[in-house]
């Protein structure tokens, strides 16, 4: 037996206390900002801010962004930066869904989701298996799909009530984004908000408590390490894109229902809005960092900030300025606390 008795742990004289404040900031992350915004809101409008209806409207406003952000978080986490084909995934699944209303409601929902998953499968195969550059590919794919969609529907928008002869089916479709739950216990929670919350919980479980999520973490921080640790990288990245596409498809169907139209421009801007929420939530473009709880905080921050500014009566254009400054501040404090703790 080798001389293992020799290798006793020696006392280390170098260890020092961490900066306590920075430890707290780093642990809580974006929720520090959420708390600040809540306090600010309460100070501005003590009568109105903490009412059920106001909080509800904040959540409703961010629910679509939130649903997409859950999926996109998997892409960011896997170090594939951003899915630039998110807008067309949303638009395409919405349009397919509206188009299929001519048959029936269930088929329409399933078809919409299938359309999104088809795009996810293409992304997942090309980026995961063929290792195309995620930004370049998904941007190109977005253009291609935008062309296909315009060609297929001859550049038109489609309306549920003209697609289907059955007015009840169209009404059913409109109702998706206008259904409220919990009426029996005196609450009015929009279905979209419930879906978002449920998806965050599922997303959290997948990211933290499955072998897929843990393998994604290794791949996200270093692809080669993943490959040489026996991880099937192509499959893991494929699954990440499928989850992302599923979320985008659900978002697309809700968006079509909400706007009562299936159109190629539905979903524009979602790529950057969602990646902002994800990054505010503590994930990094380098991959392998952050968690779903943080991403939810990022989504809340986007919603609360807009809400507080609306309560203050700040005009829309000035809101962009404030938003930019606040986001810069958050990114700075994130990196700063990480550096102070030697985590970056």
């Amino acid at each position: 037996m080798p001389n293992s008795t020799n290798t006793t742990v020696r006392k280390d004289t170098r260890t020092q206390e961490m900066n306590k404040f920075m430890v707290i900031v780093n642990r809580l992350g974006i929720y520090v900002v959420v708390a600040l915004l809540l306090i600010a809101g309460q100070c501005i409008r003590p009568d109105k801010f903490f009412t059920f209806s106001n909080i509800n409207s904040v959540l409703q406003a961010v629910s679509l962004t939130g649903i997409c952000a859950v999926g996109l978080a998997f892409i960011v986490y896997s170090a594939n930066f951003n899915d630039m084909s998110l807008p067309m995934t949303i638009a395409f699944s919405g349009m397919v869904s509206v188009q299929l209303l001519q048959y029936n409601f269930v088929l329409s929902i399933l078809g919409g989701i299938a359309a999104g998953l088809l795009m996810g499968a293409v992304n997942g195969f090309v980026i995961g298996k063929l290792r195309a550059h995620p930004i370049i590919w998904s941007m190109a794919f977005n253009f291609v799909m935008s062309g296909i969609v315009r060609w297929a529907w001859a550049g038109n928008q489609i309306y549920p009530d003209t697609i289907t002869e059955n007015a009840a089916t169209a009404e059913q479709f409109y109702a998706l984004a206008r259904t409220y739950l919990g009426k029996s216990i005196g609450l009015q929670i929009p279905l979209m908000v419930v879906v978002m919350l449920v998806m965050f919980v599922i997303g959290h479980v997948i990211l933290t408590y499955t072998s897929f999520g843990n393998q994604l973490k290794i791949i996200g921080s270093n692809y080669d390490v993943g490959r040489l640790s026996g991880i099937n990288c192509a499959r893991v990245v494929f699954i990440a894109y499928m989850i992302n596409a599923l979320c985008a498809a659900i978002c697309g169907i809700f968006l079509a229902s909400l706007s009562k139209v299936g159109a190629y421009y539905n979903g524009e801007g979602y790529d950057f809005e969602c990646v902002t929420a994800v990054l505010l939530g503590g994930m990094t473009l380098a991959g392998g960092k952050g968690n779903m709880v943080g991403v939810f905080g990022g989504v809340l921050t986007v919603g609360l900030l807009t809400n507080v500014m609306n309560l203050l009566g700040i005009p829309t254009f000035n809101q962009y300025l404030v938003q930019g400054v606040v986001f810069l501040f958050i990114v700075w404090i994130n990196t700063n606390s990480a550096r102070k703790l030697g985590k970056s």
Binding site: P2, N3, T13, Q16, I218, G230
Partner: protein, 511 residues
């Protein structure tokens, strides 16, 4: 060399310098002096604070405390530019040359001569200047217009030195300058070092190779746990004493003879070939055996390992595990069959540097330890396994949640080994398991490898570290230019025999 009285002053003096990192005091009130015209070796384990001390000199930190004097003049080294201006030249372990770009552009980066009054580079003048610098390091025969990628590793190392000389430094810091060089090239480097010394430059020399230090250094400073232990003339000390000062305890003789209990055949390859990399390779490893694969850099050792575990393709040949024919299409299948591969470079394909010790230790067995696709990294069973591995390899700091990128190199390498011990391999291929690792960590890693073999696994060891090969391996096959050309037995195992065989000479070569 003779030093006259008036030049006896110090080229570099650091007085009570300290540098704090989050959670650690990396350098603790260190006094460090280097005389003009001397080679001063800086010794210490990984994490002792050598690199931090040298980064301080390079101007990497804005927040060190203490005073630094260059040639008696106090300097504030708060940026790389001020350090350069103060006359400090750094030569890093990893070369800082841009490979596709020509030698002269690399040499004169940031100060390329221009045509008078015009914003265009004067190429003729630049080439002439580059020639001059190259001549100073004995490379006058090289065309400065060649790209760096066309010259050898050793020449690139010398170009790196020439680049630093171009800034007219007073002090040169060399961090492990020989780690990628062959023994002949090391001799060449040492002659250059002697010349620089004769010109009155002060040289700080960092290396883990004690033999080198006794050849080249005049004085030596030992650091441990962020503090200076001692400075003395090289003639007043010996390797054993230095090691004890570095490790902080007495180290029993390095390579104990091991009672090897070699069992049945476990793994065999027949006629394995990957065209252009290795050809018709045959060997057999038995349970409980440590088999070395020796050879020069570029002999095809890593390529062979990568092909066995299915990362690279195999063009021809067969592999047998416990008598059954196997062929792996990817690393996953190899791990499933019980074959692990510790890669050569922990930074690029070994460790997920931003992730924690625990995540890295478990990274090869996530799939195996999941149930119906669910896996909880923090389950008691997984936590205990990580804890046990950390204890077994004495990883410091013993905090499973600590990201590995703020561990020292030696501890990172230990974490890399835990990853493969965690999968309980029946065959483990180790590719340079202790590269750039200090004595203490090396001892721990070697003991772990021995216990693994003693427990009945087969170990295939690829190492350029000859003492390591001699101390660990039961026998070694010799790979040269992709062919196995011989075998060295336990009885004949010596550094000299291995080196001869790797060069295709000596009695152990039979093909």
């Amino acid at each position: 060399m003779a030093i006259s009285k008036d030049t006896q002053e110090y080229a570099l003096e650091m007085k009570a310098v300290s540098k704090q990192f989050p959670g650690t005091l990396a350098v603790n009130k260190v006094d460090f002096q280097v005389k003009k015209g001397e080679v001063h070796a800086l010794l210490g384990e990984n994490g002792a604070g050598k690199s931090t001390l040298m980064k301080m000199l390079a101007g990497s930190f804005t927040d060190y405390t203490g005073d630094i004097y260059v040639l008696g003049e106090k300097v504030q080294l708060h940026s790389p530019a001020t350090a350069k201006a103060a006359g400090i030249g750094m030569i890093y372990q990893e070369l800082s040359l841009a490979r596709p770009i020509s030698i002269y552009e690399n040499l004169l980066v940031g100060r390329l001569p221009v045509h008078k009054g015009l914003p265009f580079v004067n190429r003729k003048q630049a080439v002439a200047q580059a020639k001059e610098l190259l001549a100073q390091v004995g490379l006058e025969h090289i065309d400065p217009e060649m790209p760096i990628s066309e010259i050898s590793q050793c020449e690139a190392q010398l170009v790196e030195i020439a680049k630093v000389l171009g800034n007219d430094p007073k002090i040169i810091v060399m961090d492990e300058p020989t780690s990628a060089l062959s023994s002949e090239e090391v001799g060449r480097l040492f002659r250059i070092v002697e010349q620089l010394k004769a010109r009155g430059l002060a040289i700080v020399y960092i290396s883990h190779h004690l033999a080198e230090i006794f050849t080249v250094a005049d004085r030596v400073t030992v650091m441990r746990d962020g503090m200076k232990i001692t400075t003395c003339d090289i003639g007043d000390t010996n390797p054993q004493q230095l090691i004890e000062m570095m490790v902080g305890r007495s180290v029993s003789e390095f390579y104990k003879d091991r009672e090897s209990t070699v069992g049945d055949e476990l793994f065999r390859v027949e006629d394995l070939s990957r065209w252009g990399f290795f050809h018709h390779v045959n060997f057999t490893v038995r349970a409980g055996e440590i088999m070395g694969i020796t050879g020069l850099a570029g002999a095809g050792r890593s390529e062979l390992a990568r092909a066995i575990v299915g990362v690279d393709q195999i063009d021809d040949g067969k592999m047998y595990l416990r008598g059954q024919e196997v062929r792996f299409r990817n690393m996953h299948e190899a791990i499933d069959a019980g074959i692990g591969y510790l890669t050569e470079s922990r930074k690029t394909d070994g460790l997920a540097l931003t992730q924690s010790i625990a995540d890295n230790a478990m990274s090869a067995i996530i799939y195996r330890r999941s149930k119906f696709g669910f896996y909880n990294a923090k389950s008691p069973a997984n936590r205990n396994l990580v804890k046990e591995l950390i204890q077994r390899l004495v990883v410091y700091p013993a905090q499973p949640e600590r990201p590995v990128n703020n561990l020292s190199g030696g501890n990172q390498q230990k974490v890399l080994l835990t990853k493969w011990l965690a999968m309980e391999p029946s065959v483990l291929i180790l590719d340079e398991p202790t590269r750039g690792v200090d004595v203490g960590a090396k001892e721990v890693i070697h003991n772990a490898i021995r216990s693994l073999a003693a427990a009945g696994s087969a170990v295939i060891l690829i190492s350029s570290d000859l003492p390591e090969m001699v101390g660990l391996a039961d026998r070694a096959v010799v790979l040269r230019n992709g062919y196995i050309i011989g075998e060295v037995d336990r009885e004949d195992m010596s550094e000299q025999n291995l080196l001869l065989a790797a060069n295709g000479e000596g009695e152990h070569v039979h093909a």
